[in-house]
Every structure is written in structure tokens, then in C-alpha cells.
């Protein structure tokens, strides 16, 4: 009983972590599900989102121009909200630019898409180094979501509660979008099912660009949410893209709920192993992945995909 009681906080921590992993993986899932492109630049775009939020929120981000003094003079809450809205747009534009480059690889081996986005990941990360330097930044956040509380053995940081709720909200919104809107129906059908898309009278290139932009905007949002937890560094992208891809492969390519469930599973496994073998905990997610994929090649809820060829 004592054992379980001790375990409980780690379980809760794991679920919270899992929600964050799911949040990181959402944009990745959207792009891979619709376009069958593995966007290895997801992590770098995630990092870029955090840096752009930094620029919007604090003069330390590099935008310390005289005419912006008034902007940085106002309270932090509106600045933070503005960052949460504007940064994803900026990153979405970068993402759409990347999609433009990707067009040349459509119809070829999906490997080329993978390679191209790997190159893009490198370029974006290096560009971040050139612009913002190598050092680590701290993203200032409003007082309201700072601090923490301790209840019995459960310590809980306000920010993590906020981040978890935010993740649930994002997952819910995306689900509504996919299930309840006509765009969602198209996305669900998948742009690779081009016959159906054409039958619906949709401009396929435009759809692809939009989906890519949308997916990368989600990466940016995840980057902003994770920034206070992981810090802002150029190489933080690798920390994001690797779990994202584990979550997607585990959940099954093309499955929304697969990604959410896999995110939670990964979070719990990492959280629980952290209770006993803290320094090995990150390894646990790969072992989980291997165990699942060995028996279910397509992951938990995966559908058949052109990527298998």
C-alpha cells in the first residue's frame, strides 16, 4: 500500500508528461497522416517557435528596437498571449516554405522527403545558432502560471497544470476540427487519397501547403508550451522530434487517437521508470516502442500506409 502510495505521484507526473508528449506529436501526426511525409524538421520548427515567442515576449530575444519600447513596457500577459498566437503563424510560413521545397519529392520514394526534412532540420538549427547564439534562454511567463504547491507527497508546479490543461484543450480542438469540419473530413481522407480529394473539388497543392503550415504551427505551439520546462536552446529540437516520432510510430501512422494514447503511454512509462531508475528513464520509451512494433508492425492503431513500401 505504501508502495502504491509512493507510486501515485509518479503516475500523475507521467500522465502530465504524456499529455505534453502528445502535444509535441500532434503536428507531426497531422503531416505524416495526411501527406505521408516524415517531417524530421519538426523539432527544429518546435525550437524556432520558442525562439520567436522569445522575441515577442522579451527584448532579450533580439528585437530591442527603440519603437518597440512601448511594447515591452506593457504587462507580460498580453505579450505572452500575443506570442502564443503570432509565433505559430510565423513558423507556419517557414513550414509552408519547406513544403514548397518538398514538392519536388512528391511521387518519388518517401525517403527523399525524409532526407530533405533532415537537411531542413540542420539548416533551421544552424540558423537559430547564427541568429540567437549558442546559449540558453529562459522564456519569461506570466506570474499567474508560475509557482507551485505541495499537497501531501504530491508536488505540483502551476505551470505543469497549465501545460497539461493546455495540451488537453489542443487535443480536443484538433479532434473537433478533424471530426466536425469539412476540412477535417478531407484531412481524414488524406491528401494521398488524391482521387477522393479531387472528387471533392479541392485544390490538392493548396491543401498540402495548408496542412503543412498547420502542422508546423502546432509544432511551434508545442515549442512555446515546452520552453519553460525544457529551456530554449538550439539543439532542443532533437529532444522534441525523437519522442514525437516514437509516439507516432507507437500509436500508428495516420491515427489521431493512436498518437494521443501512445503519448500517454510514453509519458507514463518515462514517469514510472523515473521513480526507480531515474537515469535510465528515457531509454524506457524506446524499449516500449520496440516491444510494441515487434508484435504490431503498424503500431497500436495504425492503418496501411504507402510508407511501408
Amino acid at each position: 500500500m505504501d508502495f502504491l502510495y509512493n507510486l501515485l505521484p509518479h503516475l500523475v507526473n507521467g500522465i502530465a508528461l504524456g499529455l505534453l508528449f502528445a502535444l509535441i506529436a500532434l503536428g507531426f501526426m497531422l503531416i505524416i497522416g495526411v501527406m505521408e511525409v516524415i517531417n524530421l524538421a519538426h523539432g527544429s520548427l518546435f525550437a524556432l517557435g520558442a525562439y520567436i515567442a522569445l522575441v515577442i515576449i522579451t527584448p532579450e530575444g533580439g528585437l530591442a528596437m527603440p519603437f518597440l519600447e512601448n511594447w515591452f513596457g506593457i504587462a507580460i500577459v498580453p505579450r505572452y498571449v500575443a506570442a502564443l498566437i503570432l509565433a505559430p503563424f510565423v513558423v507556419a510560413f517557414v513550414g509552408m516554405g519547406l513544403e514548397f521545397c518538398l514538392r519536388r519529392t512528391y511521387g518519388k520514394d518517401p525517403l527523399y522527403g525524409l532526407l530533405l526534412t533532415f537537411g531542413a532540420a540542420l539548416v533551421i538549427e544552424e540558423a537559430i545558432r547564427v541568429i540567437w547564439g549558442h546559449g540558453e534562454y529562459v522564456l519569461p511567463i506570466p506570474k499567474e502560471i508560475r509557482g507551485g504547491f505541495i499537497h501531501a507527497d504530491l508536488i505540483w508546479s502551476t505551470y505543469r497544470v497549465y501545460a497539461a490543461i493546455f495540451s488537453i484543450a489542443m487535443i480536443g480542438l484538433l479532434w473537433l476540427f478533424i471530426e466536425k469540419t469539412p476540412y477535417g473530413a478531407i484531412i481524414k481522407a488524406g491528401a494521398h487519397d488524391s482521387e477522393m480529394v479531387r472528387a471533392l473539388g479541392i485544390n490538392l497543392p493548396k491543401l498540402r501547403t495548408l496542412v503543412f503550415g498547420f502542422g508546423t504551427a502546432l509544432a511551434a505551439i508545442a515549442g512555446i508550451i515546452m520552453a519553460p520546462i525544457w529551456g530554449i536552446r538550439p539543439q532542443v529540437g532533437v529532444d522534441a522530434v525523437v519522442p514525437a516520432f516514437v509516439v507516432i510510430v507507437l500509436g500508428g501512422i495516420g491515427s489521431f487517437w493512436g498518437a494521443v494514447i501512445a503519448g500517454l503511454m510514453v509519458g507514463m512509462v518515462v514517469g514510472l521508470t523515473a521513480a526507480f531508475f531515474s537515469d535510465w528513464s528515457l531509454l524506457s520509451m524506446y524499449l516500449l516502442l520496440l516491444a510494441v512494433v515487434t508484435f504490431r508492425a503498424r503500431g497500436l492503431l495504425g492503418k496501411a500506409s504507402a510508407l511501408e513500401n
Binding site: 529562459v138 507527497d153 508536488i155 525544457w230 537515469d279
Partner: protein, 432 residues
């Protein structure tokens, strides 16, 4: 050909002869004229290789010490150089990666032909560099890596270690903490050489004082999310948490501890708090008790002047006062240049002999006690300060309150006897 380097042949000769034998004697005429027969003019600049990190976990610290070493070089040049020769430097990023450190060292020595090398934050990198340096006999200053093994089992004849070691800091911090806070400790250890050895030193001292370690939690390098570790601490409720976590990892830890107000629930003892790791976080982040080798508000002559010179030389830097890392870089480089001048030559063995056992006056080093370079471990024995958070800051750069000043003898690390320097004969010699 299997014999080890025989002493007293110059590095240049060494490269030449082996290249020749390997390429075959018939090729000898091709090898000669291009390069190796060139004679350096006496006023040829002395070239120093700087190996400060500019990326990776210790990018910030690397750049901080670079500011220090460059200041010392500039000041020497302004005073007419060394041996009448100008000092030049060439810098390479070691990326806080041992493999890169190794390659960069090979390159600086064999291609750029530097005479000396200076710079290190992370012990793994320092180690990799010093291995290469020892092979060529190149004198190397480890400026800021404080793993006890650097001046213990991984010491080298060509390497000099300028920062206090984790064992010194542990000695300084632990004794007071046991009586003040309690005997039940948990260690947080960054998972690499510096962390392991520092925690080991802490544990030894703690146990000799009758305390015990309840748990030693390893913190992977690059950890940003401490939630599960903090949960464990909250559940275990130790008297003291002794951390050996460095760089940006430590920054993140401190922030999260503070956010959850765990700093009020248990005593936090950190081995050493490097200035670049805290600068910008505000005085309130400097909770717990920690050690340092220098602080810009030390009440000593010369400190203010040094701060001013720093600000004039680096007006644009984010860190507008020098900290211990910059200080170490500065005094190390200054001492290297003085030693060359005193030796009257750039001959590496002569410079090494000048440095060994060298005593440096307290006033000159802006510390409270005289410092000296231990001739058996090549480790600088210096004053250690114990500090905590400043509750009445003089200005917004004033984070620390100095609690105690420790004499180098009080904190000396007996573990340095593990050091076994290579003999002079086994160290290739050169003159640039």
C-alpha cells in the same frame, strides 16, 4: 620503431623524422625544402591556442573564460609582449564534446603550430585535449574544469589545473553543513566525470563527519525536466541536498526548485556555483550554500579595477561583470605569459619547471590567501569562499553573500596523491 618518444628531440624534428621513415627514404628530398627547414625569426609572434567551448552545455561558460584569457593577452601585448614577441591567439570551438576537443587539439598543434594551449570547462573535453597535448608535449592550461580527477588520476606533466577542484569545494562546504543542517543527505550528481568525482568527494567527507548518504540520484547531462527527481526528494525529505550539477542543467534545476519552494524545505548545498550559470537569474536564485573561488565584490585591492577593465574591454557583453570563470581564464593566461618571460624561452620543459611549485601572491591574484601550484599534481591551491544568497544586494549584479573564507591548506585534497605525472624524459620537448 616501437620505442616511445625519446626525449630531447624537438616536436618539429619528431614530426619530420617519422614522416620521413614512414614515407620511405627515397622521398626525403621532397620533404625537406617546403616546410621544416624554415627558421623562425626571433620576433615571430608566440601563438597560443584557445580551446573555449562556444556550443553545447557549457557554451556560456566557455565564452566567459575566453573573455578572460583574451584580456590577459591584450594586456601583455600592450606592455610590449613576452620575450619581446607579440602574443597571438587562435581559437577553436570544442563544442563541449571530447571527440571534437581531441580533433581540435591535433589541429591546433600539428597544423597551426601553437606553442601553448589554454581553455576548458568540461572535464571530458579537458581530458581529451590533455591526452593529445601530452603526446606532443604542448603545455596546456585547464582553466575551469574542476573534476578532482583532472589533478588526480588523469593528471599530466603538460597540464595545469587552475580552478579549485570538486574535492576542495566539498571540503569547504560540507563541514559546516553537517553541524548546521543535519546528517541525512541526498546527492544529485551530473552523470559524467566531474559530477561523479565531486559527489564521491562529498560523500567521503560527509561520512568522515558521521553523516550518511540516503540516495545518490544521477542526473543525465542535458536534463531540463526535474519533476520526477524533485518528487523523489520531496518523498525522501533529506536534511541536505548536495548537488554536483553543472552548467545549464544546474540553471534549470535551480529554477524548478525555486518555483516549487523546495529551497525552503531542505538545505541545498552546491559544490560550486559558476557565475555564468547564475548570471541573469537574479539574487533570489542563489539559494543554498555554495563555494566559489572569486567574486567581483570581494573586498580586496585590485578587484574594482579589474571589473572596470573588463567592462571597458567587453562593453557589449550580456554579462556586465566578470565572474569566477572569466577570472580563472584571466589569471591563468597572465601567469602563463609571466612564466614564459621568466623562463626566458618558450621551451616547454623550462616553462613547466617555472610553473611547478610557483607561489602567487594573494594581492596579485585578488584573493585572501597566497596560492601555489602543487608540483606533484599541477593543481593550483587557492582560497575557497563559501557563499549564499545576498539578502541586501548593492546593485542588480550582487547575488552572493560571502559567508566564510577558507585557507587553501584547510581544503586541500589528499586524493591528489593519485596523480602520477609523466617524467620529463617521457615528455617531448619543443621550442617555438
Amino acid at each position: 620503431m616501437t620505442n616511445k618518444f625519446k626525449a630531447k628531440i624537438s616536436r618539429r624534428d619528431l614530426i619530420k623524422t617519422t614522416a620521413l621513415t614512414a614515407a620511405g627514404a627515397t622521398l626525403a628530398p621532397f620533404m625537406g625544402p617546403w616546410k621544416y627547414n624554415r627558421v623562425w625569426a626571433a620576433d615571430k609572434p608566440i601563438l597560443i591556442g584557445l580551446t573555449h567551448d562556444a556550443s553545447g552545455q557549457f557554451a556560456n561558460s566557455g565564452q566567459a573564460e575566453k573573455r578572460g584569457t583574451i584580456m590577459a593577452i591584450d594586456e601583455a601585448n600592450a606592455n610590449g609582449g613576452v620575450l619581446g614577441r607579440k602574443i597571438e591567439y587562435i581559437w577553436a570551438d570544442t563544442e563541449t564534446t571530447p571527440a571534437t576537443g581531441s580533433r581540435v587539439a591535433e589541429r591546433l598543434i600539428t597544423r597551426d603550430e601553437v606553442a601553448f594551449m589554454v581553455g576548458a570547462i568540461q572535464s571530458g573535453v579537458a581530458n581529451a585535449i590533455s591526452q593529445v597535448c601530452q603526446k606532443y608535449g604542448c603545455v596546456y592550461f585547464n582553466t575551469n574544469s574542476s573534476s578532482p580527477t583532472e589533478s588526480g588520476k588523469n593528471c599530466h606533466r603538460v597540464k595545469f589545473v587552475w580552478d579549485g577542484s570538486g574535492a576542495n569545494f566539498a571540503r569547504a562546504a560540507a563541514s559546516g553543513a553537517v553541524t548546521k543542517f543535519g546528517k541525512n543527505w541526498i546527492l544529485l550528481t551530473n552523470d559524467y566525470v566531474w559530477g561523479h568525482n565531486t559527489s564521491k568527494a562529498t560523500q567521503e567527507i560527509l561520512e568522515s563527519l558521521g553523516g550518511s548518504v540516503a540516495d545518490n540520484i544521477l542526473v543525465p547531462v542535458g536534463t531540463r525536466d526535474y519533476s520526477s527527481i524533485l518528487l523523489k526528494l520531496q518523498q525522501a525529505k533529506p536534511d541536505v541536498v548536495a548537488t554536483a550539477v553543472g552548467g545549464d542543467d544546474y540553471k534549470a534545476l535551480r529554477q524548478q526548485v525555486q518555483e516549487l519552494q523546495l529551497d525552503t524545505k531542505m538545505a541545498w548545498l552546491s559544490n560550486q556555483l559558476d557565475w555564468p550559470d547564475i548570471y541573469g537569474a537574479g539574487a533570489e536564485a542563489a539559494f543554498g550554500v555554495f563555494a566559489a573561488t572569486w567574486y567581483h565584490y570581494l573586498d580586496l585591492p585590485g578587484v574594482d579595477d579589474f571589473v572596470k577593465r573588463y567592462q571597458e574591454r567587453w562593453p557589449d557583453t550580456r554579462m556586465n561583470v566578470p565572474g569566477n570563470v572569466t577570472y580563472n581564464g584571466y589569471v591563468a593566461m597572465r601567469e602563463l605569459l609571466r612564466a614564459i618571460e621568466e623562463a626566458g624561452t618558450t621551451n616547454n620543459i623550462k616553462v613547466i619547471k617555472t610553473l611547478e611549485g610557483r607561489v602567487m601572491k594573494a594581492d596579485d591574484r585578488m584573493q585572501h590567501h597566497d596560492a601555489w601550484i602543487d608540483e606533484n599534481s599541477h593543481h593550483v591551491q587557492q582560497t575557497i569562499y563559501l557563499a549564499t544568497r545576498q539578502d541586501q544586494p548593492r546593485d542588480d549584479s550582487d547575488y552572493f553573500k560571502i559567508l566564510q573564507t577558507m585557507d587553501p591548506k584547510e581544503v586541500a585534497n589528499p586524493g591528489e596523491s593519485a596523480c602520477n605525472l609523466e617524467s620529463y624524459d617521457d615528455t617531448p620537448t619543443y621550442e617555438m
